[in-house]
């Protein structure tokens, strides 16, 4: 057996071990990415083989939480891909306004930047009756997202993105600064539920009008992507919207006929009526 084959085997065993012990299901995550991330983890934890990681996962109580950030990639920023938010503001919100109240699902909300961005845009569009379900599988992300505290360094880029997305005010109207950190106003979180939810194992929890799931599905293999699309399809009302990351597409899904691209470039789709 070649070294690369052994690594592959080790990854499969590790994934099974994690699933059996912690019920985190990475079994259908794309392998090349996991492999690279685990290589990083090996360096970070000064470990020689993936089997040693497995050993630690099984026997050291506080190791797995430290490993999770390596199994999931959590890059996000405020108003990331500002064209997307521009598209929501101009093409999606007018339609969403025809519903008496809204439910929005941010699947894979990471550390909450996108949730805050959405809250701000909704506020500026005078949409007040809404509820955002922000879900992620990483409890540490959810913890951070709930606090709403971010480093001031992020704010320069955030302000720029906000302006480009067509923000009406200044982003600093929505946060307070203290100790080199910013805290976003509580009013932005009033209608937000942060919750643990896995697209790999859990099912639909509510009817929603808009689902934003960006740069999450790229880590999934095709069957798992299909599972996620099915969840979204089941959750969305007729005429509801789905926003994806800029390399993700419904084109190869068996559900593609259920959706119409509203803004193909920014990956905004509408479920058929």
């Amino acid at each position: 057996m070649k070294n690369s084959e052994i690594s592959k085997l080790e990854i499969e065993l590790l994934i099974q071990a994690i699933f059996a012990k912690y019920q985190y299901d990475f079994r259908e995550y794309s392998r090349p990415s996991l492999m690279r991330r685990l290589e990083q983890a090996k360096i970070r934890f000064n470990i020689k083989t993936i089997s040693e990681i497995q050993n630690k996962v099984l026997h050291e109580k506080d190791f797995f939480p430290k490993l999770i950030p390596y199994l999931t990639v959590n890059t996000t920023e405020f108003f990331r891909d500002h064209q997307y938010f521009e598209s929501l503001r101009t093409k999606v919100f007018p339609f969403l306004k025809t519903f008496p109240s809204l439910k929005i699902w941010v699947a894979g909300c990471s550390t909450g930047e996108e949730v805050v961005s959405l809250s701000i845009l909704l506020k500026e569009a005078s949409i007040t009756k809404y509820l955002i379900y922000a879900t992620d599988i990483n409890p540490m992300n959810l913890e951070k997202a709930r606090k709403g505290i971010y480093s001031t360094e992020l704010m320069i880029k955030a302000e720029e993105n906000y302006k480009n997305a067509g923000g009406a005010n200044s982003l600093s109207d929505y946060y307070d600064i203290a100790y080199e950190s910013v805290k976003f106003h509580d009013s932005l979180y009033k209608n937000v539920i942060f919750s643990d939810h896995s697209l790999a194992t859990d099912s639909v929890f509510s009817e929603t009008h808009f689902i934003s799931c960006r740069n999450v599905l790229i880590y999934f293999n095709r069957p798992l992507q299909e599972r996620a699309y099915t969840l979204f399809n089941d959750s969305l009302v007729r005429g509801g919207f789905l926003g994806l990351g800029n390399r993700e597409t419904l084109q190869f899904s068996h559900l593609k006929n259920n959706f119409i691209p509203i803004d193909l470039e920014n990956r905004v789709f509408q479920k058929t009526l």
């Binding site: 019920q23 794309s30 090349p32 990415s33 690279r36 991330r37 990083q40 990639v73 959590n74 890059t75 007018p94 339609f95 306004k97 025809t98 519903f99 008496p100 109240s101 439910k103 009756k129 509820l131 379900y133 209608n191 539920i193 919750s195 643990d196 939810h197 194992t201 859990d202 099912s203 639909v204 929890f205 509510s206 009817e207 740069n215 599905l217 790229i218 880590y219 399809n233 089941d234 007729r238 005429g239 990351g245 800029n246 390399r247 993700e248 597409t249 084109q251 190869f252 006929n257 259920n258 058929t272 009526l273």
Partner: protein, 966 residues
């Protein structure tokens, strides 16, 4: 001469007739030929329309083979395609599937390979009967001939069609095959091209995703590095500071070290001693534990062993003392009686020891049951009144006035304790009184026995509970008894989650009080209890049965449907029903109404069949072996290709409101009469052709009204527009509409009033699906109220006309609306059939209106009263303010306060510790279930909810509550 002429004449006539006959045959032949030619032309034109458009290769195959089957007498067929002109790959077949591993054939090899490599159509008549058999349920028959049509493009093979016939191949069939070759070739080529393109695109998409992943990772790694660098810088600064400090400290330390070194040697030795003695202690502890267990087990076994011989001793002593043979002296009888009495004492002692050791060994189980305190007190009086009379002691019994005089605990153990107290009281009391009183203290029930006997000194009150000890060493001799009673009582009280209190004064008397909870919970832990609860068993059982059904009962119908000759019928109907008898009834009825019928027993198959055959109408049962039929409804209504097909639901459970909201055309409740079915089928049949749909618009503002009118009128729809509720009601009395669009603010009556008026007078007004079209900003409560009547509420705005149009179009696909009168009648029938939920109040805690709506309508139809709370806080308020609530369905993911917390809060209140709570969650893992149970839920059900399962869970948990309220 004349004879000759006559002969000649005749000859000539015959000749002429021959010529005429020949001419006529020729004409007929050429007519036939031209008829065949035009048939071939028409057929191939037909095929080329069918193969037009963007079809996948499988779709091409399906269309083609179906076409060939219809046009020629081929009974079995297959299409192969070749991408590389080397291999033929099986695409689709009719009545044929290649064996595993034989899907691929090399071009030029085997008969098919050779024929496909050639240029011309190969026809093989008179093949051996064994060549290929067509097998049906009734038997098998052989194919008589084969045709292989090679498909060639640019001199390269791109595939082949193989056909099997029951008779020899006819010329006109070959003609048709020849004609369609080019059409099929180009369709396959275009499908192959499309497939290749699609594959490439998918591959590109995968690369693109992978690229994005790598970018994200890079970013993430960068962020991590950045973070680490920052940390490093900070650490570095800190380190420098620390280093200076450390240098100082180091010096001090060095000095101390030397001192320590000397002490260390000393310590080491002491440590060794300590470790040794610790080990000794541990050993002793283990020995002690074992010994104690041995003791308990030994006692339990020993007592048992002793009882057996003792029993026979007792019986024999008794026999002797009766002196039946009259051969014993009085003295001997006295001896025998003494043997009997002592034996009895011994037996009591052994029984007590047995009890005590059982409790200590943890072998005694409690068995809670409902006990009426009144009857308890009566039975105690019956037991001890004679003793009281005998000793001339006043015996008072009293039960305090309390809310409920029933408790739940182990009757035997409770009585054992009380008897012990009472017999002690009588035993130690020479004169005065013994009183027994029951009262309730907080949530505990207190049983007090007070006597005026010898009493117990304060310093001895602890001792009396220890086994084999009585207050005073001499007491035993004076009053008898084993001295075990109180120790056993103490252990038993522990078993009942209670305690015993003593208040006593020497020579004045004592009061023994037993305090136990009103309701005894099994003392095993929650999880184990859950495992033992019947709930799981039952749901597991139904699951198993379902699976078995799937395995055994599908494909068992004894009659064939029309799927193989469906083209003979003008109209097609898909019947989805797994009950054979009923399926047959529907099948015959469909024939009666000139429908060809296809029958399916499972959701999965039904959806595939609907997409393939595109029936004109569907009849759907909801209870199917694999899923609920609602899935079929949902799936077909979501698919643009099947959305227009009217779906009629015939089911024994009433989900009519949600089904109609989802676009069902009609809903009939089982059991169903033939007349009802006939009417339904006639409706389907007549409405199928009817193009005109009717819409009622209720809008007071003229501009808006005209606007909607114009918006809809283009769509072959008849629109009645009215401006007031009164007019609307009038219209609804005289007409049936397919859809109603209404504003909420109307001049004479508000929209709510209008809606509730229509729904309450189902018999007077027909109630079409409603679309609310309003400019008003709705509150949550308003929205909820409206949702009872309407699945679509549209707030007027820039995009609203677009949505209105789509929603209306959706509703107009139904062919028949609600049958209000019948529905009501059948609803009441249903209620009498299933009374499980009747008069129960169920609290639904959920923030999702869709769920609330679905659950409410499902549970209400079974007679339950429904209360709704939209988050945890509201739920706590509701259970506090509405004591009639006897079950809670608790969603977990909610705003304000989630389901776990709400459950915990409710359980904190003593009065709700037995309120059944069923948690509903979308999380699927087993530790999620544990979390719900830890929070205090009685049971757990995963979303998406299966209404049947939910109902059985509710039924299981409800009776528990009932035993309390009875």
């Amino acid at each position: 001469m004349s004879i000759e002429i006559t002969r000649l004449n005749r000859l000539f006539a015959i000749l002429v007739m021959w010529v005429v006959a020949y001419q006529v045959t020729q004409i007929i032949k050429s007519r036939n030929l031209s008829f065949i030619a035009s048939w071939i032309k028409a057929s191939s034109a037909d095929l080329s329309t069918k193969l037009g458009g963007e079809l996948s290769i499988e779709e091409v195959g399906n269309e083609l083979l179906q076409f060939l089957e219809e046009k020629t007498d081929s009974k079995v067929s297959a299409l192969y395609s070749s991408e590389d002109s080397k291999n033929l790959n099986f695409v689709v077949g009719r009545a044929f599937r290649p064996e595993e591993g034989k899907e691929k054939i090399q071009l030029g090899e085997g008969f098919l390979g050779k024929a496909a490599a050639g240029k011309n159509i190969t026809v093989l008549n008179n093949i051996t009967p064994e060549h290929f058999k067509i097998i049906t349920a009734f038997g098998e028959s052989s194919t008589a001939s084969l045709t292989i049509v090679p498909l060639i493009s640019n001199n390269k093979s791109i595939g082949a069609i193989e056909l099997g016939h029951m008779a020899d191949v006819k010329d006109y069939e070959v003609g048709l095959f020849e004609e369609i070759r080019s059409i099929v070739t180009s369709a396959i080529k275009s499908a192959q091209y499309k497939q290749r393109l699609n594959d490439l695109l998918q591959e590109a998409q995968q690369y693109s995703e992978e690229l994005q992943v790598q970018q994200e990772e890079l970013r993430s790694t960068n962020e991590e590095l950045e973070q680490q660098a920052q940390n490093l810088r900070a650490t570095h600064a800190r380190l420098e500071n620390q280093q200076a400090e450390m240098e100082q400290t180091n010096q001090q330390l060095e000095e101390q070290t030397q001192t320590l070194e000397t002490q260390k040697g000393l310590l080491n030795e002491r440590n060794k001693d300590l470790i040794a003695s610790q080990k000794e202690l541990e050993n002793t502890a283990i020995q002690l534990k074992n010994a104690s267990q041995y003791k308990s087990e030994f006692l339990a076994n020993m007592s048992h062993e002793l009882r057996t011989p003792l029993n026979s001793t007792l019986i024999l002593a008794k026999l002797l003392s009766e002196n039946k043979k009259k051969n014993l002296t009085d003295e001997q009888i006295k001896y025998a009686e003494t043997i009997y009495r002592s034996g009895n004492d011994l037996l009591n002692l052994i029984n007590d020891i047995l009890d005590l050791s059982k409790v200590e060994a943890g072998k005694m189980l409690v068995n809670p049951e409902i006990i009426d305190l009144e009857s308890l007190i009566v039975s105690m009086e019956l037991l001890f009144r004679p003793i009281a009379n005998d000793k001339k002691i006043d015996f008072k019994l009293h039960i305090e006035n309390m809310a409920r005089k029933d408790i739940i605990t182990d009757r035997t153990r409770l009585e054992q304790i009380l008897k012990n107290f009472l017999s002690n009281a009588f035993k130690f009391t020479a004169k005065g009184s013994v009183s027994f009183s029951i009262s309730s203290v907080d949530n505990l029930i207190s049983f007090s026995i007070t006597d005026t006997g010898i009493g117990i000194a304060e310093n001895e009150q602890e001792v009396i509970f220890e086994a084999f000890r009585q207050a005073d060493g001499t007491t035993n001799r004076k009053f008898g008894g084993t001295g075990l009673g109180l120790s056993i009582s103490k252990e038993l009280a522990g078993l009942l989650n209670g305690e015993i209190k003593v208040a006593s004064q020497k020579s004045k008397g004592s009061t023994f009080t037993l305090l136990i909870p009103r309701v005894l919970k099994q003392q095993t832990d929650k999880k184990e209890q859950f495992k033992r609860a019947p709930v799981i068993d039952i749901s597991a059982q139904t699951e198993v049965i379902k699976d078995d059904q799937l395995q055994n009962e599908i494909f068992k119908f004894s009659f064939e449907d029309d799927r193989d000759n469906i083209h003979e019928y003008g109209r097609k109907m898909l019947i989805i029903e797994d009950d054979e008898e009923f399926a047959k009834i529907l099948f015959d009825l469909a024939h009666e109404m000139n429908f060809g019928a296809i029958i399916s027993q499972t959701c999965e198959e039904a959806i595939a069949l609907a997409k393939h055959y595109r029936p004109n109408a569907i009849v759907l049962d909801l209870r199917l072996p694999d899923h609920s039929g609602m899935i079929v409804l949902d799936n077909l209504k979501m698919n643009p290709g099947t959305r227009h097909i009217p779906i009629h639901i015939i089911s024994s459970s009433d989900f009519s409101r949600s089904a109609l909201e989802m676009g069902a055309a009609g809903y009939i409740l089982k059991p169903v009469k033939r007349d009802q079915l006939l009417i339904a089928f006639q409706n389907i049949s007549s409405k199928l052709d009817q193009k005109l749909k009717r819409v009622l618009v209720v809008e007071d503002e003229e501009v808006q009204r005209n606007h909607i009118f114009n918006l809809l009128s283009d769509h072959s729809v008849e629109v009645d527009a009215v401006e007031s509720s009164t007019e609307a009601l009038e219209k609804l009395t005289s007409n049936t509409y397919d859809c109603m669009i209404m504003d909420l603010s109307l001049p004479d009556m508000s929209g709510y009033e209008l809606l509730s008026k229509i729904s309450k007078n189902n018999a007077t007004y027909s109630f079409p699906p409603v679309i609310i079209y309003t400019a008003r900003d709705l509150t949550k409560e308003e929205e909820e109220r409206l949702r009872l009547y309407s699945g679509s509420i549209i707030i007027k705005g820039a995009k609203s006309p677009e949505r209105l149009l789509s929603e209306v179009t959706l509703f107009l696909h139904r062919v028949e609306t609600d049958l209000p009168v019948e529905r009501q009648k059948m609803l009441s029938e249903l209620r009498s059939r299933d009374k499980a939920l009747e008069d129960n109040t169920i609290l639904i805690v959920d923030d999702d209106i869709r769920n609330i709506f679905a659950l409410t309508s499902a549970l209400e139809s079974f007679g339950a009263n429904i209360e709704v709370a939209r988050n945890g806080l509201e739920a706590i308020e509701k259970v506090n303010s509405l004591p009639q609530i006897n079950l809670v369905l608790m969603d977990i993911m909610m705003p304000e306060m989630d389901g776990h917390e709400a459950t915990r809060e409710i359980r904190k209140l003593e009065k709700f510790k037995d309120l059944p709570i069923i948690a509903l969650t979308a999380k699927a893992m087993k530790d999620d279930r544990d979390k719900c149970l830890e929070a205090g839920a009685n049971d757990y059900l995963a979303k998406p909810l299966d209404i049947d399962k939910l109902l059985s869970l509710i039924r299981i948990w409800l009776p528990q509550k009932r035993t309390f309220t009875k």
